[in-house]
C-alpha cells in the first residue's frame, strides 16, 4: 500500500513538473545552504588546525615582552643560555630551538627579494616541523661555527631562482655571501595569514654575528613530549624564566609563553560559532521552503477535491487519503533534500577551492539536512493532508 501510494505521489508530482520544481526550490536552497555552510566551516577548521600543526606539534613559544608583537621597552631579550637551561632543567621537553631573525634584502644574480632571515639551531627543523624538497639541513658543526650556509623557503626560492635548483648557488645577504644548501618544503599560510614560506634559515650564530650584531634571541620555541603535560611544562618554564630574569614576586612577567594549541582552539572555536550562525540562518530558509510546500499542497488538495471524493466514495479510509497527501509532501521535500545535497556538493567543492580550504564531505550533516527536509514534508504536509482526508465525500464529489 505504501509503495502504491509512493508511486501515486510520484505520478502526481510528474504531472505538474514545473510546479513541483518550484515547490521544492525552497527546500533545495535551504538544504544546499545548510550543508554548504557546515562543509565550508569544517574545511576552514581543518585548514586552521593543519596550519597550526605545520608550526610543530605541542609547541610553546617564548617571547620577551607581554603582548603579541609588542615587546615593550626594557624587556630584556632571551639568550641562548635560557634555551639551554630549559632543555636541561625542565622534564617533558623534547627539543628547544632559540631563534633570532631580521628582515633584509637578499640578492641572487639579477634578482633581489626582501625576506625574513631566521637564525636557528639544528633543532629548529624538528621543532618547527620543516621538511626538505632538496639539499640538506645544516649540521651541528656548521651551527657551532656560524657558517654562512642557508636554506630557502619556497617563496624565496621562486622569487630568486624561479624553476631552477638553487642548491650550491650563492646569494648575497647584505655584505656577505651565503651558500644555499637546501630548500624547505612549502607550509603555506600561517593561521594569522602570513606566508610561512617567505623565509631563509641560517645558523643562529651566523645571523647574530653578521646580521644583527648581538647575541640576543628573539624567541625560544619549545616542543613538549606529550599533549597532556603541556600545561605543567608551561608553568615550569614560566617559573624558571622568572628566576633567571630575577623577577620579584610582585612583578609581572616580562615575557610571554604562547601555546599553539590554545591559539588553534581559539580560532577553531570562532569558526565553529560562525558556522553555526550561518547554518542557523540557512535553516530558516529551509523552514520557508516548508511553507512553500504547504501552500502548494493546499492548492493541490483544492484542485483534486473531486478525486478525493471519488476515492472516499469507493472505500478509501481517512487515513488512506491522509497518507496519500502526506507521502506526496514528503516525497516532494525529500526530493528537494536530495537535489539540495547535490547542489551543496558542487557549491561546497567550488567554494572550498576558491577559499583555499580543504573540501571535507561530512556525511552527518548531509544525512541530518536530508532528514530535516523529510520532517519538513511531514510537518507542513500534515495540515493539507488532513484537510483532504476530512472532506465530506458528497461535497467533494459535487465539487467542480
Amino acid at each position: 500500500m505504501i509503495w502504491n501510494t509512493f508511486l501515486l505521489a510520484l505520478r502526481a508530482i510528474r504531472r505538474n513538473l514545473l510546479r513541483s520544481f518550484l515547490t521544492i526550490l525552497g527546500v533545495v536552497i535551504g538544504v544546499a545552504s545548510v550543508i554548504t555552510m557546515v562543509t565550508l566551516g569544517d574545511g576552514a577548521t581543518r585548514a586552521v588546525s593543519d596550519q597550526i600543526a605545520s608550526l610543530g606539534n605541542n609547541l610553546l613559544t617564548l617571547r620577551p615582552g607581554q603582548r603579541l608583537g609588542m615587546g615593550f621597552i626594557g624587556a630584556p631579550a632571551f639568550k641562548v643560555s635560557d634555551a639551554e637551561a630549559i632543555a636541561e632543567q625542565i622534564p617533558g621537553v623534547r627539543a628547544v630551538a632559540p631563534i633570532a631573525s631580521r628582515s633584509t634584502t637578499v640578492v641572487a644574480g639579477a634578482n633581489n627579494w626582501t625576506t625574513s632571515i631566521t637564525g636557528a639551531t639544528v633543532s629548529y627543523f624538528d621543532v618547527g616541523n620543516w621538511k626538505l624538497t632538496e639539499g640538506r639541513f645544516f649540521n651541528e658543526s656548521e651551527e657551532r661555527a656560524g657558517k654562512s650556509v642557508c636554506l630557502l623557503g619556497q617563496t624565496v626560492k621562486r622569487e630568486l631562482f624561479g624553476a631552477q635548483s638553487p642548491v650550491g648557488e650563492e646569494i648575497r645577504v647584505k655584505q656577505f655571501a651565503c651558500e644555499v644548501i637546501g630548500v624547505l618544503a612549502a607550509k603555506g599560510q600561517s593561521a594569522m595569514g602570513a606566508d610561512q614560506d617567505d623565509t631563509i634559515v641560517m645558523p643562529l650564530r651566523a645571523v647574530q654575528r653578521r646580521l644583527i650584531g648581538n647575541t640576543d634571541v628573539r624567541a625560544i620555541m619549545v616542543s613538549v613530549k606529550d599533549t597532556e603535560s603541556m600545561e605543567k611544562v608551561k608553568r615550569q618554564i614560566e617559573q624558571l624564566m622568572r628566576e633567571r630574569r630575577r623577577l620579584a614576586d610582585n612583578e609581572d612577567n616580562n615575557f610571554t609563553i604562547f601555546d599553539t594549541r590554545q591559539i588553534a582552539d581559539t580560532l577553531t572555536g570562532t569558526i565553529r560559532v560562525m558556522t553555526t550562525l550561518l547554518g542557523a540562518v540557512a535553516a530558516v530558509s529551509l523552514l520557508v521552503g516548508g511553507i512553500g510546500i504547504m501552500n502548494i499542497m493546499l492548492v493541490s488538495v483544492t484542485e483534486r477535491t473531486r478525486e478525493i471524493g471519488i476515492r472516499l466514495a469507493i472505500g478509501a479510509l481517512e487515513r488512506d487519503v491522509l497518507l496519500q497527501f502526506l507521502i506526496e509532501a514528503v516525497v516532494l521535500s525529500a526530493f528537494g533534500g536530495l537535489v539540495g545535497i547535490l547542489v551543496a556538493l558542487g557549491a561546497a567543492m567550488g567554494l572550498a577551492k576558491l577559499m583555499q580550504v580543504p573540501f571535507l564531505f561530512n556525511p552527518g550533516i548531509n544525512l541530518l539536512a536530508f532528514l530535516f527536509a523529510g520532517a519538513i514534508g511531514v510537518i507542513f504536509g500534515f495540515v493539507p493532508a488532513r484537510r483532504a482526508a476530512r472532506l465530506n465525500p458528497i461535497d467533494a464529489l459535487r465539487h467542480e
Binding site: 471524493g309 472505500g315 479510509l317 464529489l397
Partner: protein, 229 residues
C-alpha cells in the same frame, strides 16, 4: 421483512441549522430485498438524491434507522461506513467520476488497491471486469480517449470489480444519448439478473425507470407511491 437487505425506517434528513435549515427527508420507510432492481424517481428536491446518499453510506440520517442487513448504519463511524462502501457497495454516477489522466485499467483497480489486493490479482480482476462490460482491449485508454458510454462502462466495471452486493446508480444515463443509455441499462439489468447484484437507481426518466422491477416515487421528502412492474 426479514429478507430485506437494505431497510430505512422513519428516516429524516435536515441540512443546515436554524432558519437556514432544510428538511430533505421527512420520514422515509423503504425496504429493498436482496436481488431486487429498484428505481427511485421524483422531481428535483424530492429527496431522491439524499436517500441515495444515505443508502450509499455516504451520508447519515438526522433521525431514524438504516439497517444494512442487521447492521445499524447510523451508528457506524466514518471509517466503518467507508469499509462498508469498500466491501459491499458499488457506485455509478451521472458524471462517471473517473480519475482523469488515469487509464481504464487503473481506474478499475482503484477499489482493489484500497482492499490491499496484491498487484497480480488486481490486474486480473480489473481485466475481467472490463471484459464483462465489453471493454476488452480498451484497458490502457484514459477517460479523455473514451466516449461517454465507454466511460460509464469503465465506471460500472469499477463498481463491480469488488463483487459488491449492492450497486447504487445515480442518474447513470443522465449524460448519455438514448442509444447509449439503452446499452448501459442492458448492462445494468444483466448484472442484476445474472450476478444477483441488488441495484438501486435514481433517475427522472420514466423509460429508464421502466427497466426496474419496482419504482419508488418520491415527493417532498416522502415516498409518494410504489409500483411493481
Amino acid at each position: 421483512m426479514s429478507e430485506a437487505l437494505l431497510r430505512l425506517q422513519g428516516v429524516t434528513k435536515i441540512y443546515g441549522r436554524g432558519s437556514a435549515a432544510f428538511q430533505a427527508l421527512r420520514g422515509v420507510d423503504l425496504s429493498i430485498a436482496a436481488g431486487e432492481f429498484v428505481a427511485v424517481m421524483g422531481p428535483s428536491g424530492s429527496g431522491k438524491s439524499t436517500v441515495m446518499n444515505i443508502l450509499g453510506c455516504l451520508d447519515v440520517p438526522t433521525d431514524g434507522h438504516y439497517w444494512f442487513e442487521d447492521l445499524a448504519v447510523e451508528r457506524l463511524t466514518r471509517d466503518q461506513r467507508a469499509l462498508l462502501r469498500r466491501n459491499q457497495l458499488g457506485f455509478v454516477f451521472q458524471g462517471f467520476n473517473l480519475l482523469p489522466r488515469t487509464t481504464a485499467q487503473e481506474n478499475v483497480e482503484l477499489p482493489l488497491l484500497y482492499r490491499r489486493e496484491p498487484a497480480a490479482r488486481r490486474h486480473g480482476l480489473a481485466r475481467e471486469a472490463l471484459a464483462a462490460v465489453g471493454l476488452a482491449g480498451w484497458e490502457h485508454h484514459t477517460p479523455a480517449e473514451l466516449s461517454g458510454g465507454q466511460q460509464q462502462r469503465v465506471a460500472i466495471a469499477r463498481a463491480i470489480v469488488t463483487r459488491p452486493r449492492v450497486l447504487l446508480a445515480d442518474e447513470p444515463t443522465g449524460n448519455l444519448d438514448s442509444q447509449t443509455s439503452h446499452e448501459i441499462m442492458e448492462l445494468i439489468t444483466g448484472l442484476n439478473r445474472d450476478k444477483g447484484i441488488t441495484v438501486v437507481m435514481v433517475t427522472h426518466e420514466p423509460d429508464i425507470a421502466a427497466w426496474a422491477q419496482r419504482v419508488v416515487h418520491f415527493r417532498d421528502g416522502r415516498v409518494e407511491r410504489e409500483e411493481r412492474q
